[in-house]
């Protein structure tokens, strides 16, 4: 590779340029829909529906955001989404990390068979559970409540999997030393295990938050009353009435997706680790 003559250098210069041109073009394609979403949300009413189309607003206006928060009460859905996503993230982190740690490091009868059964559950599509789950929620009086969305998210096979994989690397000596000192199992979990698995907890937290925030089908099913809608459900219902109001819908889309984009951009290192950790064993 390094034996390049002058001619070869020129050739590699050209291919370097072509490579980067392709990458930049790809980046433009990847970002353009989001760029246009933000741009159109700032256009005066009607400007996004003109020919030839505008890419940038002729005059920047925040009136659509104002309409969303006043007339359409989007603040309420923002609150619902945040409440549900935070509740699911915090509680599921505790539940999944305890189970994941136990599957990795504690011995109990039937552990491996139980874990195999759980793993098999990873191939079951969630939609198969949704019809009876709805009837169950109805039976429990949880239809159209926050709990109806939160409870099924409180534990996930994927989360247990991720934690277990990571917790396997905790040295047994460390746990045994704490036991000899007379620490209870709960104390060991709190003061030895949790500090040792912080990176994967961060990964799982971001992963869970984004997945819960973006989730659509189950909230759509279990929430029938508008006042409990999450942002994606509210947005899908809004587009039915306001499909002509392009700029307004774009402002709604920005509000729905910008929070997760920010979480991702600030914490992407952990999120990306989660993608890779999840793919290690399939």
């Amino acid at each position: 590779m390094k034996t390049g003559s002058g001619k070869r250098e020129a050739g590699s210069g050209r291919s370097r340029l072509a490579l980067h041109a392709t990458l930049v073009l790809g980046a433009i394609l990847a970002l353009f829909p989001m760029f246009w979403m933000i741009s159109a949300s700032l256009m005066p009413t009607g400007e996004a529906s003109t020919y030839p189309p505008h890419v940038l607003p002729s005059r920047v206006t925040f009136e659509h955001y104002h309409t969303l928060f006043t007339r359409l009460d989007l603040g309420r859905y923002l609150f619902n989404s945040a409440l549900i996503a935070v509740a699911v993230t915090v509680v599921s982190l505790v539940i999944n990390s305890m189970a994941g740690y136990a599957f990795a490091k504690l011995r109990f009868r039937g552990r491996d068979r139980l874990f195999q059964l759980l793993s098999a559950g990873l191939v079951l599509p969630v939609q198969v559970a949704m019809l009876p789950l709805f009837l169950l929620m109805k039976q429990l009086g949880l239809v159209n409540t926050y709990w109806g969305v939160i409870i099924p998210g409180l534990s996930s096979i994927f989360g247990i999997f991720l934690i277990r994989q990571y917790a396997l690397s905790i040295p047994d000596d460390m746990l045994d030393a704490a036991r000899i000192d007379g620490a209870s199992e709960l104390r060991i979990y709190r003061s030895v295990v949790l500090p040792g698995i912080v990176p994967i907890l961060a990964t799982l937290a971001i992963w869970t938050f984004l997945a819960t925030w973006n989730d659509f089908m189950w909230p759509l099913i279990v929430l029938s009353d508008e006042s409990h809608y999450t942002l994606p459900v509210a947005l899908a219902s809004l587009v039915g009435e306001h499909v002509q109001d392009t700029e307004l819908m774009m402002a709604g889309s920005v509000l729905t997706t910008v929070p997760v984009l920010l979480v991702f951009l600030f914490l992407q290192r952990y999120y990306i680790q989660g993608v890779l950790a999840g793919s290690v064993k399939g």
């Binding site: 246009w36 020919y51 209870s184």
Partner: protein, 291 residues
């Protein structure tokens, strides 16, 4: 291991297991039973109004043209969209993995960004980009001399339009996994291929691709499973139209179950979906093994 250790272990796994069994495994099993009953809107009011009908729902399902077209649409989406997504992911991963790339992590983040966006929100954005008169896609094509296409209003174009959007949304995820797979290929293999004078294409076919085998299988399986569950895109962008050309199996299940409250019938649809996904997964694993 002392006895209290075992008890503690059970306390640690109990909350997770109870939740997963009650709110996932139990409903999945109940779904099979539900599909053998005529559970409908009257049964929602009082479950005494439900009867065991054996395989009647399945028989009815297989006689319904809409079920077959929903199955066909779902296969179209998975079989065209799946490989297309994987191809774009692999292409992006190969580009980003090239030695001379600068700002690698910047491009990686940019390409991954569509994956984390909220599906409902970006589906609405694409709906406007696909607009026949005012959409930017038709404007761009128009400047190349291609006439306006009614992307979401033409039964021939609606599914391809949804596929393009799905490729854009999802390729970044597989791309990350491919990059990790590419980086785990030992450098010596390429050095040896270089000594043998193998062309870049030849190197890709005889070094990269075989070494990526397990990664490829993983990516193919999760992409396929995900794509068979197509729902939000047609729900938001086309409502299953035009002429039902984008009604997927899950959308059909949703309509039957939660719009018409025919839960027994809808459960049969859900179970067919499960079997289809299972078979597709097994076929992919088999193909990979044989290679």
């Amino acid at each position: 291991m002392p006895a209290e250790g075992t008890n503690a272990a059970w306390l640690f796994v109990a909350p997770a297991l109870v939740l997963i069994f009650v709110f996932f495994f139990l409903p999945v099993a109940a779904s099979l039973l539900l599909s053998l009953t005529d559970f409908d809107i009257y049964a929602v009011a009082s479950s005494e109004n439900t009867r065991f009908v054996a395989l009647h729902n399945y028989a009815q399902l297989f006689r319904t043209p809409l079920f077959w077209s929903s199955l066909r649409n779902t296969f179209y989406f998975a079989i065209v969209g799946g490989p297309l997504t994987i191809a774009v992911s692999l292409g992006a991963a190969l580009l980003l993995n090239a030695k001379m790339v600068r700002w690698r992590s910047f491009f990686r983040t940019v390409y991954f960004t569509p994956f984390v966006t909220t599906l409902v929100a970006v589906a609405i954005v694409w709906r406007y980009l696909y607009h026949t008169r005012y959409g930017l896609l038709n404007y761009a094509l128009g400047s190349l001399g291609v006439g306006p296409v009614d992307w979401l209003g033409d039964p021939h174009w609606a599914m391809p339009a949804i596929i393009v959007m799905a490729v854009w949304k999802n390729f970044g995820y597989n791309m990350l996994i491919f990059i990790a797979g590419l980086q785990s290929i030992p450098e010596e293999l390429y050095d040896a291929a270089n000594v043998d004078g193998a062309s870049p294409v030849r190197q890709f076919l005889s070094v990269t691709l075989p070494m990526l085998g397990p990664t490829l299988l993983f990516v193919a399986v999760i992409t396929m499973i995900g794509y068979f569950q197509l729902f939000a895109e047609p729900y938001v962008m086309t409502q299953g139209g035009p002429l039902r050309s984008t009604t997927s199996v899950v959308l059909y299940m949703y309509e039957e179950g939660f719009r018409w409250w025919r839960l027994g019938y809808a459960a049969a649809i859900a179970f067919v979906l499960f079997i289809v996904i299972l078979i597709a997964t097994l076929i992919q694993i088999r193909i990979q093994r044989e290679q």
